[in-house]
Amino acid sequence: MKTRKLAALSLLTALALILSYVESMVPAPVPVPGVKLGLANLAVVFALYALGFRAAAMISLVRVAAVAVLFGSGVSLLYSLAGAVLALAVMGALKAGGRFSSVAVSVAGGVAHNAGQILVASLLLRTELFTYYLPFLIVSGVITGAAIGAVSGILVRRVRWKRK
């Protein structure tokens, strides 16, 4: 059981890393800092539903650290860490509340991720970036979050983790 879980976590973390890499090759669709497809969130949202909050948190945080080492810089680590932590908190809370589907949970997570990143950027740069870009980041978070949430929902229904 423990080994199974370890294997599942490792697999999903690796998947999140590959998705991050694929995403880094796709140019951002709009020129607003912080806008991303958030493909790696697919693994995180899936883990949140299939394996629980702690598994999702571990995958997300390990991914952020590994991405920073592999393709990022010190500053980008801070941005993505803030985004990841805020997204996890919001998604965990909304899912625990039980009033929303995986789509809305993922939407809130996407928006929280974007907001967390730009908030830290604002603090580091000491400018009001946060307020200026927030409208665009909310909209992009809603769109990408909805897509990721929908796909994760399908995956959770189709993939059978818990067999035996």
């Binding site: 020129p31 929303f100 589907s101 970036l129 307020t131 200026y132 665009f136 909209v139």
Partner: protein, 120 residues
């Protein structure tokens, strides 16, 4: 299940409304600005009047600012994503170009040389 879907729509609709409201607030009161103010981290490193054309390497050359026709834009950057270049030309007060990798921003602000510095 049905209730979940309704909650989802409320959440998503609420977020989109919030975005629209924020956007409209920022659009209001955006008048033509007088100068492009360049900041690296939180320090102002240069002020460039929008009525004086020119090409200005910024931040030791990581980004190249161009002023022309009353507008300002980033012509070149050494970062991989080039988001600052693609942000285009700015000329209204409060408009901004941001290069997160180099921690650099270009903001359009009021009248050139009026001495007012609105750094938060």
């Amino acid at each position: 299940m049905k209730k979940t879907a309704r909650n989802d729509l409320l959440l998503i609709g609420g977020l989109l409304l919030l975005a629209l409201a924020l956007y409209l607030v920022f659009q209001a009161g955006a008048s033509r600005g007088g100068q492009a103010v360049v900041r690296v981290e939180d320090r102002v490193v240069g002020r460039y009047p929008l009525d004086r054309d020119g090409v200005f390497p910024l931040n030791g050359g990581t980004n190249v600012l161009v002023i022309g026709g009353g507008k300002a834009w980033i012509e070149r950057a050494d970062c991989p994503d080039k988001i600052c270049v693609r942000q285009g030309r700015i000329f209204r007060n409060g408009q901004r170009i941001t290069c997160l990798p180099n921690r650099l921003t270009v903001t359009v602000e009021g009248g050139a040389g009026d001495g007012a510095d609105l750094v938060s």
